[in-house]
């Protein structure tokens, strides 16, 4: 990585870090924290889907695993939340590797990969809803104990900075991936798997590395979610909503680019917020807009739009 690769990310981090200085309104910080958590989950999706071209419809499997591990270990076994957060990332990565191993070894691609990831996430959802261990249908409450040593903060501003730091870290990791051999091979697999194998790319290994890293990142987002909202149930942790959010943000903002997920998440959530302000709290209305936006983005790819605009000038 060169300085040119890194400075836009650091600049983004520095500017975003100023937000709590100017904004103290709880709702706005709340919004910013939630959007950053989505950025992290989406960056995870972007590594596998954007760079690797393997479209998962079930990233909830990783988000939920990160979230539940963080929550269950501290609530049931009193493990330090920082440790459970890391454990959540590790377990999500393992789940990612296993799902990847099973599906990629069977040669599942395209729609079939999307379907099988969706099904895995659903299996986790049904299981976590049924067993006592995760609090079942009633969900799991992390007791409020706002101390920094406890990964809970008195002020939202601090939590915001922690999440932001992790998002910046994820951006740096994605940039490093983009510039690495693994990144080049991953993109090659996306563009043409047979051609990649012919020039010595071990496609299975590359895809497995990608899904493991991808799952870890989305798992980290899940852990942060649990730590911030202090409540989980099966439809939050393993629900389709997060699979959809994780996929939409990179697609809208630019799949396979470092900043795509951040841009997409900010656009989507700002749009949702504005809609809510304009038409009131009609359930589902934000997602209606997301759906329309998704279709439009596929119909009129932003890259083509930019080219078209340039051509007209």
């Amino acid at each position: 990585m060169t300085a040119r690769d890194v400075w836009p990310i650091l600049l983004f981090g520095a500017v975003a870090a100023l937000l709590p200085v100017f904004v103290t309104a709880g709702t706005l910080l709340n919004f910013a924290i939630f959007t950053l958590i989505i950025c992290l989950a989406a960056q995870g999706w972007n590594i596998l889907g954007g760079f690797g071209g393997q479209y998962s419809f079930g990233h909830a499997a990783f988000f939920g695993t990160g979230a539940y591990t963080a929550a269950v270990l501290q609530v049931r076994y009193g493990v330090n939340p920082y440790v459970t957060f890391l454990a959540g990332i590790a377990l999500a990565a393992i789940v990612g590797w296993i799902i990847g191993f099973l599906s990629f070894r069977s040669g599942l691609r395209g729609s079939y990969f999307a379907l099988v990831t969706l099904a895995f996430a659903e299996v986790f959802r049904v299981l976590s809803n049924a067993v006592e261990f995760t609090g079942g249908a009633a969900g799991l409450l992390i007791p409020l104990d706002a101390r920094a040593a406890n990964f809970q903060f008195e002020s939202r501003g601090w939590f915001y900075l922690v999440v932001l730091a992790l998002v910046v870290l994820a951006l740096l990791m994605t940039r490093a991936l983009e510039r690495s051999r693994l990144g080049a091979q991953l993109v090659a697999v996306r563009e043409n798997e047979d051609a990649a194998r012919a020039v010595g790319v071990d496609a299975l290994r590359v895809k497995l590395s990608a899904i493991t890293l991808s799952a870890a990142m989305t798992g980290a987002a899940g852990g942060l979610y649990a730590q911030y909202f202090l409540y989980l149930d099966s439809t939050i942790a393993y629900g389709t909503w997060i699979s959809v959010e994780a996929l939409l943000a990179p697609i809208i903002g630019g799949a396979g680019t470092v900043f795509g997920p951040v841009i997409g998440a900010v656009i989507l959530h700002t749009l949702a917020e504005v809609t809510r302000m304009m038409v009131g709290r009609i359930p589902g209305i934000d997602l209606v807009i997301f759906g329309v936006l998704l279709i439009l983005v596929v119909r009129f790819p932003p890259r083509n739009l930019l080219a078209w605009l340039r051509g007209r000038r």
Binding site: A119, I251, G284, V288, I295, R299
Partner: protein, 292 residues
């Protein structure tokens, strides 16, 4: 594992078969679209939800019995499906697999949440006097709406079969399914055939919705419960195979009913997902089975 008396198990099997036939009908639309367009329609579940709301509105606003509502809803949903393929999915996807994936996902998000915005998340159902009636079959008591559903599902499958075999449209559909370029060369309008197929698939959902409504409920997410089941059936029966869809539906209906009996309702769904994953992972040949 608990031990149930044989008549309870038999009744569970029979109920599974009855529900399974309607599952088969839902899967029929999906498999037909796959067999001809070679796309996996992720909006299938949301379209089913839409059809169920349509049937509910027909009952609540116009007093139409759900079985009668089949008559107006089938043409309406055929046209809807035709339009969706012709105006949305076709142009947006430009034939790329990943685009189709995203467009149909976008469509399903859009439809599901539009219904959430309009009808809210309340669960709605229709009250008809035959909803609770039962049909006696030997020692078993079977729910009347489910028996009707079973019968009609088979009638629809037979009609579809005849349509595909005997009519010019059916022959064009099969030609496109087998060899798109060749079909285009002999003058078949492939885009039209695609849209017709999608329309038929959607019309199947309208029938399924009307059959389900008397014994089921509607909420914005109800289609999701069916869509993974339908995917499982389609994968199991061989992507694109019409008889496979029906047979797969019956099998899955029984599996669901039995695993519900033995594992309880919430874990009961697991049986289907596990079958689905196993078939996808270990018998991918089932995926590329017979074409429509």
């Amino acid at each position: 594992m608990r031990n149930f008396p044989p008549e309870i198990v038999m009744e569970a099997v029979a109920n599974g078969l009855l529900t399974g036939a309607v599952y088969g009908l839902v899967a029929l639309g999906l498999t037909l679209v796959y067999g001809v367009l070679h796309i996996i329609n992720f909006a299938h579940g949301a379209l089913l939800t839409l059809a169920m709301y349509a049937a509910w509105v027909a009952w609540a606003a116009f007093g139409l019995d759900p079985y009668i509502a089949i008559l107006p809803l089938v043409p309406i949903f055929f046209v809807l499906g035709y339009g969706v393929q012709r105006l949305v999915i076709g142009p947006a996807s430009r034939g790329e697999d990943s685009n189709i994936l995203l467009v149909t996902l976008g469509l399903s998000i859009l439809l599901e949440n539009a219904m959430l915005a309009i009808f809210r998340s309340d669960t709605l159902s229709v009250q008809v006097d035959y909803a609770m009636e039962v049909v006696e079959l030997g020692p078993m008591l079977l729910s009347f709406p489910r028996v009707v559903g079973f019968g009609v599902a088979f009638v629809v499958a037979a009609v579809l079969f005849v349509l595909l075999r005997m009519t010019d449209t059916g022959r064009a559909i099969r030609a496109v399914a087998k060899e798109r370029t060749g079909a285009a060369l002999v003058g078949i309008d492939v885009r039209h055939v695609y849209a017709v197929t999608f329309g038929i698939g959607t019309a199947c959902l309208a029938v399924a919705a009307c059959l389900l409504l008397p014994s089921f409920y509607v909420n914005p997410r109800v289609g999701n419960a069916f869509v993974l089941v339908a995917f499982t059936i389609v994968v199991l029966g061989g992507m694109g195979s019409v008889p496979g869809a029906l047979l797969g539906g019956l099998v899955i209906g029984v599996v669901e009913s039995l695993s519900g009996l033995y594992l309880g309702d919430s874990l009961g769904q697991l049986g289907i997902f596990v079958i689905f994953i196993l078939v996808l992972l270990f018998k991918p040949t089932g995926l590329f089975g017979a074409k429509a």
